[in-house]
C-alpha cells in the first residue's frame, strides 16, 4: 500500500470507529445529565497525569498478553475463544498455590515456577480444542467456548474448595504477602509483569512477521489447502498455534495475580478478553499495532472508572463504549467495503470458519 492509502486506511478503519464511539458515549452522557467535556477531561486526568499513567500501564499488561494470544490464533484463522476461562483458571491456580510455593522456594524460583505453571494451565486447556480441531476437524469456536465455561467453573470450584482461605468468611484465596508480589520498576509502581508483557509483544511481533513459523501461520490462515499442499503439517501447526495462544493467555492470569491483585475471589471476572476483542481486529491482528489500541482502552478503563464515580454514573458506561466501538466497526466495514477504502478487519476465511 502507498503511504496516502495507508494513512486513509488507518484513519477510516481504525481511528474513525474509536472517535465515533467516544462521540456516541458523549451523547449518552448528556442524556444521563453528565457533562461529557468534564467526563472526558476527568478520564484523561485520572489515567495519564499524576500516578495515573502507572495505573494505566499496569492495566495494560494482562490486556496485551490476552490480545497477543488472540492475535496468534486469529492470524492462523483458528478462533480460540477460550480466553475467558483460560485467564480465570490460570489466575485461580496461581493465586491458590502461590503462598505455598513461596514458602518452599526462594523468591526468584517461585515466581518463575508460577509463571510457567500459569502458562502450562493455558496450554493444557488449549490442547482440548486444538486436538479436536487438528484430528477430527471439530469446529474450534464451539469447543474452545465450551472448554472456557468448564474452566471458569473449575476456577470457582477451586477458590471455594482447596484454595479457600479458612481465616476469612468470604470465599477467596489467601492474600499473597506484598513481599512476594512482582517487583516494581525502580522509582515507579509499575510491576515487572508490565515489562514482560511489552517484551513479549515485541518478541511475538518479530516471530509473526519475520520468522518461518509466522509465515506458516499466515499461509495456514489464508489458505489451509495451500498450506497442506505446500507440505505444512496442518494438524501439528494447529496444535502449535493453540498452545502458544493458550500459554500467553494463561500468563496474563499469573501476571495479574502476582503483580496487581494478590488474591482471587469467587465469581470475580474482569472480562478482559471480551473487551479487548474488538481492539484486536482494529489492530488488524498486528501485535505492535495492538499496543496503542490496548492503550486507548486502558486509558478509558482506568480513567473512566474514576471519572464515572465522580460524575455519579454507572461504570457500565465502559461496556457501552466497547459495544459502540463494535457497532461503528460494523458500519465502517460495510461502508468502506462498498467504497473500497482500506483493508477489511476480518481475515477472509472467517465466514468459512463460522459455518463449518
Amino acid at each position: 500500500m502507498s503511504a496516502p492509502a495507508r494513512a486513509l486506511d488507518v484513519l477510516a478503519r481504525t481511528v474513525a470507529p474509536l472517535v465515533l464511539a467516544i462521540l456516541g458515549s458523549a451523547v449518552v452522557l448528556l442524556a444521563l445529565g453528565a457533562n461529557p467535556w468534564a467526563f472526558y477531561a476527568d478520564v484523561l486526568r485520572f489515567s495519564l497525569t499524576g500516578e495515573g499513567w502507572q495505573q494505566t500501564l499496569t492495566a495494560m499488561a494482562p490486556l496485551l498478553l490476552i490480545s497477543l494470544g488472540l492475535i496468534v490464533s486469529f492470524r492462523a484463522q483458528l478462533w480460540n475463544l477460550g480466553y475467558g476461562g483460560t485467564y480465570l483458571l490460570s489466575a485461580a491456580v496461581v493465586a491458590g498455590v502461590a503462598p505455598a510455593v513461596f514458602a518452599f522456594l526462594p523468591y526468584g524460583a517461585a515466581t518463575l515456577l508460577l509463571l510457567v505453571l500459569a502458562a502450562g494451565v493455558g496450554l493444557i486447556l488449549a490442547l482440548i480444542p486444538a486436538s479436536l480441531k487438528a484430528w477430527f476437524g471439530t469446529n474450534e469456536v464451539i469447543t474452545s467456548l465450551m472448554t472456557s465455561f468448564v474452566a471458569a467453573s473449575l476456577a470457582n470450584l477451586l477458590v471455594k474448595g482447596p484454595f479457600q482461605d479458612p481465616s476469612v468468611s468470604v470465599p477467596q484465596t489467601r492474600v499473597l504477602d506484598l513481599e512476594f508480589m512482582l517487583a516494581y520498576v525502580p522509582g515507579t509502581r509499575v510491576h515487572l509483569g508490565v515489562v514482560l508483557a511489552f517484551a513479549l509483544v515485541i518478541l511475538m511481533h518479530v516471530m509473526l512477521t519475520r520468522s518461518s513459523f509466522g509465515t506458516r501461520i499466515d499461509v495456514l490462515g489464508l489458505n489451509p489447502r495451500a498450506a497442506a499442499h505446500a507440505g505444512i503439517h496442518v494438524p501439528r501447526m494447529t496444535v502449535a498455534v493453540f498452545v502458544v495462544s493458550g500459554a500467553l493467555i494463561g500468563l496474563a492470569g499469573a501476571i495479574d495475580m502476582l503483580g496487581l491483585w494478590g488474591y482471587m475471589r469467587t465469581d470475580w471476572n474482569p472480562g478482559y478478553g471480551d473487551k479487548i476483542l474488538p481492539f484486536v481486529f482494529l489492530a488488524r491482528l498486528n501485535p505492535l499495532g495492538s499496543v496503542p489500541l490496548v492503550g486507548v482502552y486502558a486509558v478509558l478503563a482506568t480513567g473512566g472508572t474514576l471519572a464515572a464515580q465522580r460524575a455519579g454514573i454507572s461504570v457500565d458506561l465502559l461496556t457501552l463504549l466497547v459495544a459502540l466501538v463494535l457497532f461503528f466497526m460494523v458500519i465502517v466495514e460495510y461502508l468502506a467495503a462498498r467504497h473500497s477504502v482500506g483493508r477489511s478487519y476480518l481475515p477472509r476465511g472467517i465466514f468459512k470458519a463460522v459455518r463449518a
Binding site: R210, S211, S212, D218, A226, G231, R355
Partner: protein
C-alpha cells in the same frame, strides 16, 4: 429493417488493481441475437471486464448501459436483475451445499423457496448440456466438468437477455463443447445476446458473429459480421493472432523434440505404481488397481474424461491422499505414507490443477508463493528468521527465468492472471532439484502463448533427465508432449497407447468411451 438496438453498451470502462491496469478504456457494443466473442491472451483484461458485468467489481471509470438504461451494479444481484447471466471460469458454487441449494440461492426470486419448481427447472436445464445432475448431490462431490455444467444452468436460470461465458469449454469434452455451441446458437436465435470470452481463436471464428480482440486492457481490434463472413478463416487467423499478441505471436513449443520411445534404456523406473487403489475419503472418483511406470527422461500422459479419477491418481502419488492398497515406489523407496514435505525433498513434485484454491496463497506476495514449499529452509530462512534479500533474489531469478508477468515480486499473487499463476507453480515445482513432476491439467484455461511456454518448460525438464506424469483432458496436448498415454476411465487404466503411433488419437478416444461405458 430497423437498426438493431444495442443490448449492452460499454463506454470507456477502466479498472485498475494496484499497479496493474486491467482495463484501460474499453468500448463495446453487443447486439441481441448475436454471439460476440471476446478474444485475448491471459491478462488481456477479459475476466476483469466480466466481473464488472457480473456486479462483482465496479469500474473506476466508464459507463455500462443495458437495454438503453445506464446501470451501476453494486452487487451480483443487481446484475442478475438486469438479466445478465454469467458463467465464470472458476466455480462460483458453494461446495458444502447441494446442487439444489446452490440453484435456489442463485435463483431466489423472493422470500419463499420453491423447491419442486427449482428441481424441475434444474432437470430441464441440466439435461440440455448432458446427463442430468442429481440435485441432492453436494457440489464438492461433482467433477470440474459437472460443476461447469451446473454453472451454465445457473446462468440460464432467470432467462437472461445477456449471457456471458468465460472460457466455457475448457472443461468440456469435444462433444460437450459442440453441444454447448449448438445450444448457444439456439439461444442467440431467440434474441439473447451471447458474450463468449475465450482465448481459442478457432472457437471464436467458428461461433462469433463479431469478434473483439483485447490486449493489455485495451481493444486491439474489432471484426464485424461482414468481415467474418467474407474473409476466409485461414486469412483471418494470422491477422487476429497478430492483434492478440502484438507481433510476438507464439511459435511452436521451444525446447528439443522428444526422443523416440525405443531410444530409452528400459532400466529401473523412477516412479512405479503397483496396483494402487486410493481411499475414497476425499470424495470424487477414487482409483482402482492402477499400475504404471515413469522413467527418467520420459513424459507419460494420462488421458480421460474429467472426473474419472485424475485427481485421486495425482494426489495418491504426490499429494496428501491416502492409499487403500498397493504401493507407490519412488526411486526404489515406498513413498505411500510419506508426508508431502519429505516427498518434495526427494524431488517428487506436484503441479495442482486447482491453482487458485490450492496452488497459491492469493494475498501473499509472488516471492513468498514461489518459495511456499521451502518455508524455513536455508538459505532463505536461517534459524527461523527470513532472509529477505535471499528471498527477493531467488524470486527475481525465477520471475525472469519463467517470464512471470508481475508488477513486482512483492505484488500479491492473487492479482496475477491465470497464466502467470501457472508459471509461478511451474517455477516453484521445477526450479530446484525436481526429479519427477506430476502435472494435473497443466494448460487448462491458458492461452496459446502460455501453453506453449508450459510445454517448453516440460520438454526442457524432461530432456535434462526429469520425468513427468501429465494428466490432461486435452488429448491434443498429450499427443504433442507425451511418449506413452495411459487411458483412465472409471478410476481404472483401461489401456495404453504410444503417442507417436499414427492412429493414437482414435485409439485413445475409443478407449475413453469404451472404458466409460463399463
Amino acid at each position: 429493417m430497423t437498426a438493431p438496438e444495442i443490448a449492452l453498451h460499454l463506454r470507456g470502462i477502466e479498472k485498475r488493481f494496484g499497479a496493474v491496469q486491467a482495463n484501460a478504456g474499453i468500448d463495446l457494443d453487443v447486439r441481441p441475437g448475436e454471439i460476440h466473442c471476446l478474444l485475448g491472451e491471459n491478462g488481456a483484461g477479459k475476466s476483469t471486464l466480466i466481473s464488472m458485468l457480473a456486479g462483482q467489481q465496479r469500474p473506476d471509470a466508464g459507463e455500462i448501459v443495458v437495454g438503453g438504461r445506464t446501470v451501476r451494479f453494486t452487487s451480483p444481484t443487481d446484475s442478475r436483475r438486469a438479466r445478465i447471466g454469467v458463467v465464470f471460469q472458476h466455480s462460483m458454487l458453494i461446495p458444502t451445499m447441494t446442487v439444489h441449494e446452490n440453484m435456489l440461492l442463485a435463483a431466489m426470486p423472493g422470500v419463499r423457496l420453491h423447491r419442486q419448481a427449482a428441481e424441475d427447472r434444474l432437470t430441464e436445464l441440466s439435461s440440455v448440456f448432458g446427463e442430468p445432475i442429481n440435485p441432492a448431490r453436494l457440489v464438492a462431490e461433482l467433477s470440474l466438468g459437472e460443476r461447469q455444467q451446473l454453472e451454465l444452468v445457473r446462468a440460464l436460470w432467470a432467462e437472461p437477455r445477456i449471457l456471458v461465458l468465460d472460457e466455457p469449454t475448457s472443461m468440456l469434452t469435444p462433444a460437450g463443447a459442440a453441444a454447448l455451441f449448438q445450444r448457444l446458437q439456439d439461444l442467440a436465435k431467440t434474441g439473447v445476446a451471447v458474450i463468449l470470452v475465450t482465448h481459442k481463436i478457432d472457437e471464436a471464428l467458428a461461433l462469433g458473429d463479431r469478434i473483439t480482440v483485447l490486449r493489455s486492457g485495451e481493444v486491439a481490434a474489432r471484426f464485424g459480421p461482414s468481415e467474418l463472413a467474407e474473409v476466409p478463416p485461414a486469412e483471418l487467423r494470422p491477422r487476429i493472432l497478430d492483434r492478440m499478441f502484438g507481433g510476438t505471436a507464439p511459435k511452436r513449443a521451444s525446447g528439443p523434440p522428444p526422443r523416440p520411445f525405443e531410444d530409452r534404456a528400459p532400466g529401473r523406473p523412477l516412479l512405479a505404481l503397483e496396483r494402487v487403489s486410493s481411499s475414497d475419503r476425499h470424495g470424487g472418483m477414487p482409483i482402482f488397481d492402477v499400475s504404471l511406470q515413469v522413467h527418467a527422461g520420459e513424459v507419460v500422459g494420462v488421458a480421460g474424461i474429467d472426473g474419472h479419477g485424475q485427481l485421486a491418481l495425482a494426489e495418491a502419488i504426490a499429494g496428501s491422499r491416502g492409499i487403500a492398497g498397493g504401493r507407490v515406489i519412488f526411486d526404489g523407496r515406498d513413498v505411500g505414507g510419506m508426508p508431502i514435505r519429505r516427498k518434495q525433498r526427494l524431488g517428487l513434485r506436484y503441479v495442482t490443477d486447482d491453482r487458485l484454491g490450492e496452488g497459491i496463497v492469493g494475498q501473499l506476495s509472488v516471492a513468498l508463493n514461489l518459495l511456499l514449499k521451502r518455508i524455513g529452509q536455508p538459505p532463505f530462512w536461517r534459524f527461523g528468521r527470513m532472509n529477505r534479500a535471499e528471498v527477493e533474489h531467488e524470486a527475481q531469478e525465477l520471475i525472469r527465468r519463467f517470464d512471470i508477468r508481475t508488477p513486482s515480486a512483492r505484488a500479491p499473487a492473487g492479482h496475477l492472471s491465470g497464466g502467470n499463476v501457472q508459471k509461478i507453480l511451474l517455477a516453484r515445482e521445477l526450479a530446484h532439484d525436481a526429479r519427477l513432476v506430476v502435472l494435473n491439467k497443466p494448460s487448462y484455461g491458458l492461452d496459446a502463448a502460455t501453453v506453449s511456454r508450459v510445454h517448453g518448460e516440460v520438454r526442457r525438464f524432461v530432456s535434462r533427465g526429469g520425468a513427468c506424469l501429465m494428466l490432461s483432458t486435452d488429448l491434443d496436448e498429450l499427443l504433442e508432449i507425451a511418449d506413452r498415454i495411459a487411458v483412465l476411465a472409471q478410476g481404472r487404466i483401461v489401456g495404453w497407447v504410444l503417442a507417436r503411433s499414427s492412429d493414437a488419437a482414435a485409439r485413445v478416444s475409443e478407449l475413453m468411451t469404451a472404458g466409460g461405458q463399463q
